[in-house]
Symmetry: C2
């Protein structure tokens, strides 16, 4: 793909999942996609959907801050707001082959979500 097309695909995927349209989002992904997350690697587009959909359902807003790429990769920086965490920036990297995302990685800070959820608590003292 051209660089413009990889960036367009990344933006299409992003707009789809952040608006909860996982039919369109999944059409951007290779069925056997490998996707690294802070919680570990995911294998397959439906595992990725299961991982992202609960977060997407809690989104108040999202905003792409920057996206750049080449003919076979893209990296995007975006910010999100949810009821519990008002600003949670994230970065995603994608490998793009044919017209599908075949591998990716998401990087974000789990700490405010873990504190909000109560799965961790500040240490005493």
């Amino acid at each position: 793909m051209s660089k413009d097309s990889t960036i367009r695909l990344a933006l299409t995927y992003h707009r789809a999942w952040t608006s909860g349209d996982f039919d369109v989002a999944l059409a951007c992904l290779a069925p056997d996609i490998s996707f690294d997350t802070p919680a570990g690697p995911l294998h397959g587009a439906s595992a990725l959907r299961q991982y992202m959909e609960p977060f997407a359902q809690g989104l108040v807003s999202s905003r792409v801050l920057a996206v750049h790429g080449s003919d076979d990769e893209a990296i995007m920086l975006y910010d999100t707001a949810t009821a519990t965490v008002p600003s949670a920036p994230a970065a995603e990297w994608y490998r793009i082959e044919g017209d599908l995302i075949t591998a990716g990685r998401i990087v974000f800070d789990r700490l405010p979500f873990a504190l909000a959820r109560g799965s961790v608590v500040p240490a005493a003292g």
Copy 2:
């Protein structure tokens, strides 16, 4: 700057700070840089040095996974290993004006560091 030059500057900055060479790293930064981190915004190159240097001192290895950009921005994805957290991927975004990084943001997962340091603990039950 050309796109190649912004990417080269991003890589120079990255190689410098990850190898502990903060003289070279700071020469890549505007003195009044604004830099967003998971802990909040930093103002000025010496505040950024104070933030990054303790982490740099604990680095076992670092590896650039991808870097892309334009004539005034770059985004980089990299992985790091420290004694306490064997894999801590991070993304950094830079705005580049003249031949300096004038603004930036780092995104990474603070949770494994907070757990390793003992500043948070898993909730009981």
